[in-house]
Amino acid sequence: MAQEAAFTTTNILVVGTGGQGVMTATEILAEAAIALGHDVKKTEVAGMAQRGGVVSSHLRFGQRVLSPQITPGTADVLLGFEAAEAMRWRHMLRPQGLVLMNSGRLVPPVVELGLYDYPADPVGAMRAAGTHVVSFDGSAIALGLGDVRLGNTVMLGAISDHLPFPAEVLEQCILKRFAHKKPEIVELNRRAFAAGRAAAEEAERVSAAAD
């Protein structure tokens, strides 16, 4: 992927629900791409997303980006912040694309009311459909570090080894965002990034071993 990136556009789709930090995470990915000299477009299909609805954020970068939207079936990486949301957007992925996802669940009121069912096994369903899925409990990692809001840094750590540029570029972009905050917060984000990166690596190793 690294070689072809110079000539083609990289399509990354980041999905989740309102309030999870999907749009911020995509913006940080965009900043990393800009730092490396790429043209970048980032767009959201957010609707009334801040009310807990579906959020999907499109990031395209390369030499010159025209349409800001990723066409279904052409995303290189699908970064899912929530299990059912990753499943909802799987069709956006190109056939050999990669799903990196948080297995954590956010159950909406329509499911609590008994009007709909939450999918029994989102990861299994996607794998059964032939998709390469790397899944780990990013919510638990963030909570383990003391704050569920670290979830988006965990997810960025997870994608950092699947970009056409070094993980450290992305890490620097994240830490820069918190540079004016307390050193503890910078450190927490550094740890969240490392934990997400390690979790994705471990999950990929396990899923490769299972294959």
Partner: protein, 634 residues
């Protein structure tokens, strides 16, 4: 956000390449152009233009009470020679158009740029109207940027056009420009001293005789603007190797066309009204067929057809929604008789819908939980977060069309009721900012015409849906500074609602709310019930100690779920047979205490008192079992 930026004294970024949304790019250009006055009413997807502008120095910015007022404020400044700006969402111009349709006659002195943001694709709006009609209707020029860089550049160009032709200029945005971030090369601000207002009744006082003298000037101006469009660099043709089809396009559709058909000739319209017919004719001569790709109505298409040009457009493209590559490619392939490009193999997997919800502890939850318990009522609704009350689990809002319409609709429902609806109570639900925007007049109409309507005025001190912006009811201005605050109770009394019929109720006190609603709906005259708790997203809201559910006490009745709070989750479902033989579904719950802010709305419907503060120590098991035994014994 904007307020903090001002407080922090954040310096304005120097000229450089910045990652900006279309809205931020427009704001930057207004500031660089020497803009002096900017006004708007919040509305998705336009809101961030004024939010961003409010953080720039040396420019007056305001949240106006509605779009019409915002345009009048900007126009007043432009009369006095100041460069001014006004932003609104597409439906905002319906409100503002009364002012627009006559300021096109007077024209302006200082540049006046109006950014209208169309919600193509309906991400957060009640309709998908095409604002490009206003350029035609009001005979004013209209620019259509395609991305953030153009949003910036076109806004600067719009000020120049506005002053050269002494005309208000519309910059037509869409969601896919407003909320897309891209790289923008920016510059520096140039100051523009103004001459001040020069009295001239023949120009500024639009009585029939004066207006009549200005009509021919307006049409002459439009003729000159068409000549401008013929030479403007905002309009240009790109040649292409594959000339079977040439595309005429504007706005973000241009990006989709370029992405989909890299080898095709394309005529890109930046100044899209008035149209440069001569240039378009020469372009057409170079192509096989001419296809117009425009979002969303066939405006360019019909004007070209009226010129006798042979063009294809909405006969093969949809009349609504975005014209993205996935729409364009198959349509053009069919037109050319090519094999349709292979569709994306994967189909979407079935996943439950995830509609927007109200926030945890939102004061509207208590209102809708209460409304859902009323029988034989019709509830006329309005635009805001509380529109969500139509959905599950409340199903307590029956109509919604436009800002402030809950009032007039309710009066009509009252006056037009059928014999069978004789005893039906008519209610109207409206938020604070929506009431001030366009609801006050409707309430006055209800009072004046002796309507029988119970109005719920949900005052949460913010424009919640667009992110908690301030308004005349919040007591703060656009910068977050203290501002005069309207007294709603006094206001509705001044409109003629009798003192005894005006109640201010805490939205979390459900028994009081229910009792007041029951009483007021029985009385056949206008009443107003004002709820007064702040939006949970603004700084006026203070979270309280969170709650949890004692598993041992939860009987699975599920009543708390009917409040609709997203912090309540089902842990287990069960079905039991009661002594009567009736089967009952049970849903045992937990509260996500990390999200709970202790509003206590779920306590009321919980019969076994299973909901307690998180720091409540566990009850001795025996006691709990005994207490819990009663309701589950059946």
């Amino acid at each position: 956000m904007s307020a903090e930026a001002v407080m922090s004294g954040r310096p304005v970024a120097p000229a450089s390449r910045l990652l900006m949304s279309g809205n931020e790019a427009v704001a930057r250009a207004v500031w660089e152009a020497g803009g002096r006055v900017a006004a708007a009413y919040p509305g998705t997807p336009s809101t961030e233009m004024l939010e961003a502008l409010s953080a720039y120095p040396d420019i007056y910015s305001e949240w106006s009470v509605n779009e019409k007022v915002s345009l009048e404020v900007a126009f007043g400044a432009a009369m006095a020679g100041a460069r001014s700006f006004c932003a609104m969402k597409h439906v905002g111009m319906n409100v503002a158009s009364d002012a627009l349709m006559t300021m096109t006659l007077t024209g302006v002195v200082g540049g006046l740029v109006i950014a209208i943001a169309d919600d193509v694709g309906l991400s957060s709006s009640q309709n998908e109207q095409d604002s490009r009609f206003w350029g035609r209707f009001a005979h004013v020029p209209l620019l259509e940027p395609a991305d953030s860089q153009e949003a910036y550049r076109f806004t600067l160009a719009a000020f120049d056009l506005s002053e050269r032709f002494e005309v208000p200029v519309i910059v037509r945005m869409t969601t896919r420009i407003c909320h897309v971030k891209g790289l923008v090369s920016t510059g520096e601000r140039s100051a523009r001293p103004t001459a001040g207002f020069a009295k001239d009744a023949s120009r500024w006082v639009m009585v029939p005789s004066a207006a009549g003298r200005r009509l021919p000037l307006m049409f002459e101006r439009e003729r000159r603007l068409r000549a401008e469009a013929e030479v403007s660099p905002l309009n240009f043709a790109e040649s292409g190797g594959d000339r079977r089809i040439g595309f005429v396009t504007s706005g973000p559709a241009y990006m989709h066309v370029r992405e989909s058909f890299p080898d095709a000739p394309v005529f890109k319209l930046g100044l899209s009204h008035p149209l440069p017919f001569d240039r378009l004719r020469s372009f057409a001569a170079e192509c096989g067929q001419l296809v117009v790709v425009e979002e969303v109505e066939p405006l360019i298409e019909n004007e070209l057809k009226a010129q006798g040009m042979k063009v294809i457009g909405k006969d093969i493209l949809p009349l609504s929604g975005e014209l993205s590559p996935q729409v364009l490619k198959p349509a053009i392939a069919r037109l050319l008789g090519d094999a349709a490009p292979e569709p994306s193999r994967a189909q979407p997997m079935p996943v439950f819908p995830r509609p927007p919800t109200m926030c945890v502890a939102c004061p509207h939850l208590g209102v809708y939980y209460t409304l859902s318990q009323l029988r034989n009522v019709t509830i006329s609704g309005d635009i805001g977060c509380y529109t969500l009350g139509f959905g599950q689990p409340w199903n307590a809002l029956d109509a919604c069309i436009s800002m402030g319409a809950s009032m007039g609709m309710a009066l009509g429902l009252d006056k037009g009721r059928s014999e069978s609806e004789k005893d039906r109570k008519v209610l109207a639900v409206i938020g604070d900012s929506t009431f001030l925007h366009m609801g006050m007049q409707g309430l006055l109409d209800i009072v004046y015409n002796r309507g029988n309507v119970t109005v719920l005025l949900l005052d949460n001190r913010a424009v919640g849906m667009t992110g908690g912006q301030d308004n005349p009811g919040s007591g703060r201005d656009i910068h977050g500074n203290d501002a005069p605050r309207v007294d709603f109770a006094q206001l509705v009394r001044a409109l003629g609602v009798r003192e005894e019929r005006v109640h201010v109720v805490n939205a979390y006190e459900l028994p009081v709310l229910l009792k007041t609603l029951r009483e007021e709906t029985k009385i056949p005259e206008p009443s107003v019930i004002i709820t007064n708790q702040p939006c949970v997203l603004i700084k006026d809201y203070h979270p309280l100690k969170p709650y949890k559910v004692l598993d041992e006490r939860c009987t699975g009745c599920g009543n708390c779920i009917d409040v609709g709070c997203p912090a309540i989750h089902v842990t287990r479902r069960d079905r039991v047979r009661k002594a009567s033989g009736r089967e009952v579904d049970l849903a045992f719950v937990r509260i996500e205490s990390a999200a709970c802010t202790g509003c206590g709305l779920c306590l009321k419907p919980c019969a076994p008192d299973a909901i307690v503060h998180v720091d409540t120590l566990a009850m001795p098991i025996k006691v709990v079992r005994k207490e819990a035994a009663a309701p589950t014994s059946a």
